[in-house]
């Protein structure tokens, strides 16, 4: 399931609801991304981030996230998938994104969770703008995110 929303969400409440066991789920893996006060690879002494604004491409975002979910379900046997991504303004400590996967075995849950966040980082149309005491600026993409996503390259799904 995919959710793109401006409202804040509660990681504990979401993970708790997602993890309610049915007897067939052996493992639940989750990853939550939070707003940090120093987001990019910034030099020591760079001004702290006051807030982050997430812009996205409505329509294409949901479409890409659904494709990424479908690809994860194709690669691993998953009992359930949840991806929540916030858009709009948020402050340090607030969650930006949550990925949860449930499977009979832990390998499928752990690997698919890492896959989903790596692909989301490079294939879902979101952009971050930081507010700092020195002004606002758009966060630059990181080569390390491309590298992380490439680990999963076997066949495409642009």
């Amino acid at each position: 399931m995919i959710r793109v929303q401006t409202e804040p969400f509660d990681i504990g409440a979401e993970v708790g609801a997602f993890s309610r066991g049915t007897g067939r789920i052996g493992g639940v893996a989750t990853f939550a991304g939070l707003v940090r006060d120093s987001l990019g690879e910034r030099p020591e002494g760079a001004p702290p981030v006051r807030a982050l604004t997430l812009e996205h491409y409505p329509g294409m975002t949901e479409r890409q996230l659904e494709r990424i979910e479908a690809e994860a379900r194709r690669r691993w046997e998953l009992a359930d998938v949840l991806v929540i991504h916030r858009v709009g303004r948020m402050e340090p400590g607030e969650p930006i994104v949550l990925v949860c996967t449930a499977a009979a075995h832990r390998g499928a849950a752990l690997d698919s969770c890492a896959f989903l966040i790596d692909w989301l980082k490079t294939r879902a149309p979101f952009w971050k703008r930081e507010e700092t005491p020195d002004g606002d600026h758009w966060v630059a993409a990181r080569a390390s995110d491309d590298d992380a996503a490439k680990r999963w390259d076997r066949d495409g799904c642009s």
Binding site: M60, R63, I96, R123, A124, P125, A140, A141, R142
Partner: protein, 83 residues
């Protein structure tokens, strides 16, 4: 054809959306970028480094050689930074 701009491309162009009617010789994403560049200084500034501009045609990622044929919506944006 609807053209959308996101993130710093929108800031530079000065709008998030415009409707354009490029001539028939504009056949690919690259052609469209060149044609838009010629429209104003703001567009020229947005596309000044085409290597760091990404594109989607009808909400699918598309590279510079992708054909436009009949596309209703083309979007330009920087590399994504979500998650």
């Amino acid at each position: 054809m609807k053209v959308l701009y996101f993130a710093w491309l929108r800031d530079r162009v000065g709008t998030g959306e415009e409707t354009v009617d490029p001539p028939p010789e504009v056949r690919t994403v690259g052609d469209l970028m060149a044609w838009l560049t010629s429209r104003s200084d703001r567009h020229a500034r947005a596309f000044s480094d085409p290597a760091i501009v990404r594109c989607a045609v009808d909400q699918d990622f598309a590279d510079v050689n992708a054909p436009l044929d009949g596309a209703a919506e083309v979007a330009f944006f920087p590399p994504v930074t979500g998650g």
